[in-house]
Point group: C3
Chain length 109, copies 3
């Protein structure tokens, strides 16, 4: 038995929750704030048999991996509209920080 | 020293908190949402000496065990009141998912 | 790799967060309620290499240690203002409950 603690960005958290539940993982979500990742984040606690740890890690990686995203730029306030060419901007989003902890005993009542 | 992580239903969480504090356990409550259990749930973190782990587990079991509850049925909207016999419905409530984790060091400042 | 779980008083939590981030610790904050400490509290999760555990513990101790604080007393309602001498009252604030947990695997995606 292992306990996986995964801190992910809020924008990835619903997709991750659904993917984990689709694969029958026991999962609970904690409301968290700041620190590990740049914007708002969510902490997942996943309890799993040792043999399924790699599967859970793969799902986290597939759904939360840090990646670049093209974002439409905001046009500059008060700028000269004639000379302004709006190139999309590349922003890094996502990312996950994951700890796998040993579990000594596990119970369901 | 052990850290017990217990996810329980919201409706059992106040009773559990009181029972744990009555027995002098160090406990903190995390706001959590969905997953392990059907409705809203709460995660407890309990720090305890090895020798008192079984006592904590017993208190969690006594206060949160999954059990059937009889619920008065809602009368069917637009139904025929004459032919409708309101049998109470059995619903499963409660339940706890519990992890016992090893602790390497413990401090109080 | 270790996971440090620290429960501290709300009033110390911003100072602690800043001090940990100044020293480049990976940290996330959980919203928590009651139990370990007298008033509202916050739980920090700090992931760190074994060699930096003592540094993290020192920062927690420096910023959250239990200490006495002089508080101006509220003047008694309906009291006799002539005979009332407002001595400041000593109140214990702060404190931290800290668990160091072993980590089997650590990943960043
Ligand atoms: Ni799949
Ligand atoms: Ni008792
Ligand atoms: Ni320093």
């Amino acid at each position: 038995m292992k306990l996986i603690l995964a801190v992910v960005q809020d924008q990835d958290s619903n997709r991750l929750l659904n993917a984990l539940m689709d694969h029958n993982f026991r999962v609970t979500k904690l409301a968290t704030t700041g620190g590990f990742l740049k914007s708002g984040n969510t902490t997942f606690i996943i309890g799993t048999e040792d043999i399924r740890v790699d599967k859970a890690l793969q799902i986290i990686k597939d759904n939360c991996r840090s990646r670049d995203q093209l974002v439409a730029p905001v046009s500059p306030m008060g700028g000269n509209a004639d000379s302004y060419i709006p190139y999309p901007v590349e922003v890094e989003v996502g990312g996950a920080t994951v700890f796998v902890l040993p579990v000594e005993q596990f119970f369901q009542y």
